[in-house]
């Protein structure tokens, strides 16, 4: 996919940076949507196509790492580029382990930004309209286990759910992928880059927590 048809989402809580990045990317022919928060971006993903998502790591509210994790879980075919101003190796490693395709440092450089998007686009796959809304967290979990070769019974045990619930999710995932059977599902998933072990661990190393949950009852400033 070339930059001319690409749909890019850019997330940063500073308006100056959003504008400068949008201009830099649009002048290269891409379609750009900007968002000031991770939450808005996730809402936008339900409505519009996104090939590459670029996000700052440090943001108020939902931070970049949480957004990265949510996107790789629910829209795993989207390439995510993360931007950090800290320049620390642990942060970079954590981001790559969580599934980031590229890691950029501040201050942002137009050429570096465009090159990163180019590379990310080379690995991106456009999915059909049935997957436009992405996967639910439950569907994402079930899909991961299916790709890892587990039976419904094993998945039910692993997720502490009934077999019927697991089968229901499996059914909806297959429907979204347009697959007639599990073999085809696995094949189609592989075609968009999802293969055995693609599940990324949450940065904290514990099992996936819902990134949309607010932990404090007062807004973080």
């Amino acid at each position: 996919m070339g930059p001319q048809e690409a749909h890019v989402f850019f997330v940063d809580d500073e308006p100056g940076i959003r504008m400068a990045a949008q201009r830099a990317l649009e002048t290269s022919g891409m379609h750009v949507r900007v968002f000031s928060s991770g939450e808005d971006c996730l809402a936008g993903l339900l409505e519009q196509t996104c090939d590459v998502l670029i996000t700052d790591l440090r943001m108020e509210g939902m931070d970049g790492m949480s957004l990265l994790h949510a996107v790789k879980s629910r829209f795993p075919w989207i390439s995510v580029i993360v931007i950090s101003g800290y320049g620390s190796i642990p942060v970079a490693v954590a981001a790559m382990k969580t599934g980031a395709a590229e890691f950029l440092e501040k201050p942002l450089d137009r050429q570096e930004l465009l090159s990163a998007v180019s590379r990310a686009l080379a690995n991106a796959t456009r999915v059909g309209p049935s997957l436009q809304g992405g996967l639910s967290d439950a569907e994402a979990q079930v899909l991961r286990h299916i790709i890892d070769g587990r039976t419904s019974r094993e998945i039910a045990h692993a997720l502490n759910r009934s077999i019927r619930t697991v089968e229901s999710h499996r059914h909806s995932v297959m429907h979204k992928f347009g697959a007639r059977n599990v073999a085809q599902l696995v094949q189609r998933a592989a075609a968009i880059g999802l293969s055995k072990g693609f599940a990324c661990s949450h940065p904290s190393g514990t099992s996936h927590k819902d990134p949309d949950a607010q932990n404090t009852d007062t807004a973080a400033l």
Binding site: I17, A20, A21, R23, M65, G85
Partner: protein
């Protein structure tokens, strides 16, 4: 150190760096311990220390230091005069505090470097985009050259920031260790004891010994505690009794620290920008306005979150959550 260079007190980071225990270093000079050479020590004694006066009690000195088991390395040392000639106890506490603030120079630099990359990103991207567009649309050469000069200057700033950040990181000894949270809290309380007493703020802790050690740079946790405690103490009016409490709790794999006070709270108008750099409610000359910005950087870099629950007219509670691992 006393004026003969004999060590009276050293913190854990220093002891770790030089490879000695507290009893081993007390009463000895850095030369005795093999930490600095005779020439460097003479330079300190004869050139730097005499320059310190009660008016100018602080100096930054680059010095060559020897560590046990490895070669020499350069550090940026902050020298603070703690005892005036009269040995006034009040002045001692004030100097300790100033020294603590200056020791955060490294902290300041790293945070400043990071904050500068924000507007620099805008300048650099905007200029680069403009140049690309003008090349496409065609324009006088001179204009393109102006923009190119701008872009080159941006790259120079970026390089400077990078060097400054790396240097500052080096000189604050970035080794991560298993840090005991209660110890850091007690260190903070000791440091601020005097000014807290004057401001009538009781410094308290709760449940910190129940917390596990956290792996991070000890001086950064110190800086975090110091900033939050200092803010509360400075906000108190010294007329009535107040308190500042550091409470801890372990929730799953996260350590939650609450910094609660009843020193008046933040004016709602100031609240949205409170973590921004150069946002300060203190009078000019008092404070850099970077305290909370630094605190936020430290917390975020460690993978955590910081937020505030404000009760204007009463007090405020800062909530810091840090991943345990």
């Amino acid at each position: 150190m006393d004026l003969h260079g004999r060590i009276e007190y050293a913190n854990k980071q220093f002891l770790q760096d030089v490879g000695h225990t507290a009893p081993q270093v007390r009463g000895k000079t850095p030369v005795d311990l093999g930490i600095i050479g005779d020439e460097e020590f003479a330079r300190l004694k004869n050139e730097i220390v005499p320059r310190l006066t009660t008016e100018q009690p602080l100096a930054n000195v680059e010095i060559l230091v020897h560590r046990q088991g490895s070669g020499p390395f350069r550090v940026l040392l902050s020298f603070g005069l703690l005892h005036s000639a009269t040995g006034d106890l009040q002045e001692y506490h004030e100097r300790m505090q100033d020294a603590g603030r200056l020791a955060s120079l490294g902290m300041l630099s790293v945070t400043l470097a990071h904050e500068l990359t924000q507007p620099l990103s805008v300048i650099q991207l905007a200029n680069q985009t403009a140049l690309a567009e003008l090349r496409r649309l065609g324009c006088p050469e001179a204009i393109k050259q102006d923009l190119q000069a701008s872009i080159t200057a941006c790259a120079a700033i970026a390089a400077l920031i990078g060097r400054f950040r790396d240097y500052a990181r080096q000189s604050t000894r970035v080794q991560e260790t298993e840090v005991d949270i209660r110890t850091v809290a007690e260190w903070t309380i000791r440091l601020l004891e005097h000014s807290a007493q004057q401001a009538k703020v009781a410094l308290q802790t709760e449940n910190l010994d129940a917390l596990p050690a956290i792996r991070m740079r000890e001086n950064e946790l110190e800086q975090l505690f110091l900033t939050l405690a200092e803010n509360a103490v400075q906000a108190a009016d010294g007329m009535e009794d107040h308190y500042f409490l550091i409470a801890g709790a372990l929730r799953d794999d996260e350590i939650e620290l609450r910094f609660e006070d009843d020193c008046g709270g933040i004016q709602p108008a100031h609240l949205p920008k409170i973590f921004e750099p150069s946002s300060t409610t203190k009078p000019p000359g008092k404070g850099t306005g970077l305290g909370l910005c630094i605190a936020r950087r430290i917390v975020r870099e460690r993978g955590g979150r910081i937020s505030i629950q404000n009760r204007y007219g009463e007090g405020a509670t800062f909530i810091v959550t840090l991943p345990r691992y």
